[in-house]
Assembly symmetry: C2
Homo-oligomer: 431 residues x 2
């Protein structure tokens, strides 16, 4: 199924698309050189918004949970990327321990885990599943929607290593984003590869650090392309020490929101964009799609959802939001079957391995789509990010559009690499 | 288009398929360990014959010329593999010089070159074409069947480097198999990567050395799988110093052919195979599909084509055949639309990137299909070698069959790696 795209066919994004296609070998070489200096995250997914005049990543997930939404025909790309990744990390490995989200039992998520098992199996690893859920005390079968099943097993920790009964892995692959904190069982594992590293989890990770790194990457890339980085970079600021219950910090939030709206307004004026700017205020840490508010006027903050954060909006660890990212809103003007859609690009190691549209029939172009009611439309393989068609009219070729999405998604992945280097608690500091 | 396969659904190959599928992680790990010690050829293609009771590579091409026959939907796999290959060889490279066959101007071959250009372009290299044809003295456009064109340019050689006007490549990729000899312009290039190396070309390469290496690989693999290597290994012998014109060496050829037929007969008896064994006598060097004879009785050699070799069968360099490989014949019992078919698997770096069926309506199951009149049916992506379906009935699932073909093809590729190490004229010898 090829999604029928309705996208802004004119404006700066088409120029960008053309410039990106013309520069393809230079762009790929630039990435190659970056990857000589930086290590890509093991896997990642990036939510992209295309406003026609601007194209930007709005969320970079280092524990992607939608591999089941990829077109099955693109899985060989994931297998090949997994082979390349394993070869670098642990070429002699026989066993991979995959640790799924502790408490998610919905069949969509389980299908994601089943897909990951299949990918790593075909890449040459025995894969078993270790559960962070203390209720799992013995092998436990979970039914999949397709009639198959998965077996969760209790984790077994020795002083230095983590494994399962009769199963000693070289690498432990986490698919739990640690938004509920870092379980003791995962701490101080120095003999095995734990991927992604603990500081990639939401117990420690902060969105503003990612977007700070992304800003740096976007500036470098924009220099290569001779363009304004704003075309691919959402402006942002962030705020700590908020207390929505007592109202502490709310004034500062309004001030910063106002300042960001002013900056966006100025950019819109520069580009002659006749739209009302908006910002997204969201928890600075992982919120699994919760606590995300669209703000068009700083005064609205008083009446909007976040104001009621202490009741309605709790983070996954049960805590209220006390730090936020205030991010320039980027509308998504893509539609699949008339519903608002945003592309999500999946990567493994340095490679784009697939993608899908997240579609939400009941949400607006300026709203978060990662919410109950969303559905997923896989990108068909013919629409692969790696099959651009040079020479096609800008904006008219889905493969070219997807190639551009793959480039933007890889910029965000590179930013995650910068971010994880900057936030690595074990990094050696030469001062 | 998914080829409708008619294949032997019973017998040892189905057991082998089942064993290969069950051992997938172990097999992939085994390859991973082999690639830690050995360097894969830059690209390769392997012709495979499936006789139902036996499955074997019969030809390993290190200058594959049919990338245009791959399903376009599988090209992203080739792009990804090319990225991985470049990253290892010359990560900072901007330019790739591709050297096509010197004299081939047929549009199928040009489409192969156009596909390679596209793959390396998308992998991040500026690709230009340098011609070995001395008639090319300036940029020369060649029309493609799809309306596009390719530009050939004259090679420019300085003392240490090969390039084009204003084009200095890091890597030179040869797609000419050097069966007409090694042009001076390619000799003594020590500052650039010349891939494949000169000794991979038919000016120096000998088939029996490949099959000697394949025998070694097949034995190792058979040990891993606990099976008889004969199931995947075509027996062979070879003979030098033949002169078909004077008859010199013909007695020895008959004796060796007879001995090999006896060995095959013994194996058929062991496995209860009620078929008449045959051998293939072919030039020990590259013959571009020429000088290949099917022999069921050593006495037939007197009347068969090779006997007339001095008139009818000249090698691409114009020389008569004076060395032959005598190879156990493996019939191909696959059919596409009722025509005899053999699978051809394409690889880049260590990865299977696609494949097709070579189909020849006018040839028999025991004949060479690489001959005028053959056609090509690409494997659909859903039938990818990397998407096996564990649990499907052996012999009943095309993806499982193709996964097995991908394994056998990679064994042949690994053998080519062993072969090139053993025949490397620059190898350091520790004696």
């Amino acid at each position: 199924m090829v999604p029928h795209l309705i996208t802004a066919l004119n404006g700066p994004i088409n120029e960008l698309e053309q410039r990106i296609l013309e520069s393809m070998p230079a762009i790929e070489r630039w990435f190659r050189l970056e990857w000589m200096e930086h290590t890509p995250p093991f896997y990642s997914s990036v939510d992209i918004r295309n406003a026609g005049f601007k194209l930007a990543p709005v969320d970079t997930n280092l524990f992607p949970g939608g591999f089941n939404n990829l077109n099955p025909e693109t899985l060989p790309l994931a297998v090949q990327a997994a082979m390349a990744a394993i070869e670098k990390i642990c070429p002699e490995a026989k066993n991979l321990l995959l640790v799924p989200e502790a408490h998610t039992r919905n069949t969509f998520y389980l299908a994601n885990i089943a897909t990951l098992v299949r990918i790593f199996n075909q890449a040459g690893l025995n894969v078993r599943l270790g559960s962070l859920d203390p209720a799992i005390t013995g092998p436990t079968q979970l039914a999949l929607a397709d009639g198959g099943s998965l077996t969760l097993e209790p984790l077994q920790r020795t002083r230095g290593r983590l494994g399962l009964k009769d199963f000693d892995p070289c690498t432990i692959l986490l698919n739990d984003d640690l938004s509920a904190g870092i379980p003791a069982v995962l701490q101080n594992l120095h003999e095995q590869y734990l991927l992604p590293p603990l500081h990639a989890g939401w117990a420690l990770r902060r969105k503003h650090q990612h977007f700070k790194a992304y800003e740096e990457v976007a500036k470098k890339f924009a220099k290569l392309m001779g363009m304004d980085p704003w075309l691919i970079n959402p402006m942002f600021s962030h705020l700590d020490g908020l207390d929505f219950a007592s109202g502490e910090g709310l004034d500062a939030l309004q001030t910063q929101t106002d300042a960001l709206l002013t900056k966006v307004r100025r950019k819109y004026k520069e580009y002659g964009i006749n739209e009302k700017p908006f910002v997204i205020v969201k928890a600075d840490t992982g919120s699994q799609g919760r606590c995300i508010t669209t703000v068009r006027d700083a005064k609205d903050l008083e009446t909007l959802g976040l104001k009621r954060g202490d009741q309605a909006c709790r983070l996954p660890d049960g805590q209220p939001v006390n730090a936020v990212l205030i991010q320039e809103g980027v509308a998504t003007y893509e539609r699949v079957n008339e519903a608002v859609a945003e592309p999500v690009v999946y990567m493994m190691d340095r490679y784009v391995v697939g993608g899908f549209y997240r579609v939400h029939a009941e949400r607006g172009v300026d709203e978060n789509l990662n919410a109950p009611g969303s559905s997923y439309v896989p990108l068909a393989f013919a629409e692969s990010t790696q099959l651009p068609r040079p020479g096609a009219k800008p904006g008219a070729s889905a493969p070219n559009r997807f190639y551009m999405y793959g480039v933007i998604a890889r910029l965000a992945m590179l930013a995650a690499s910068y971010e994880l280097e900057a936030t690595d608690p074990d990094a050696e500091v030469y001062a």
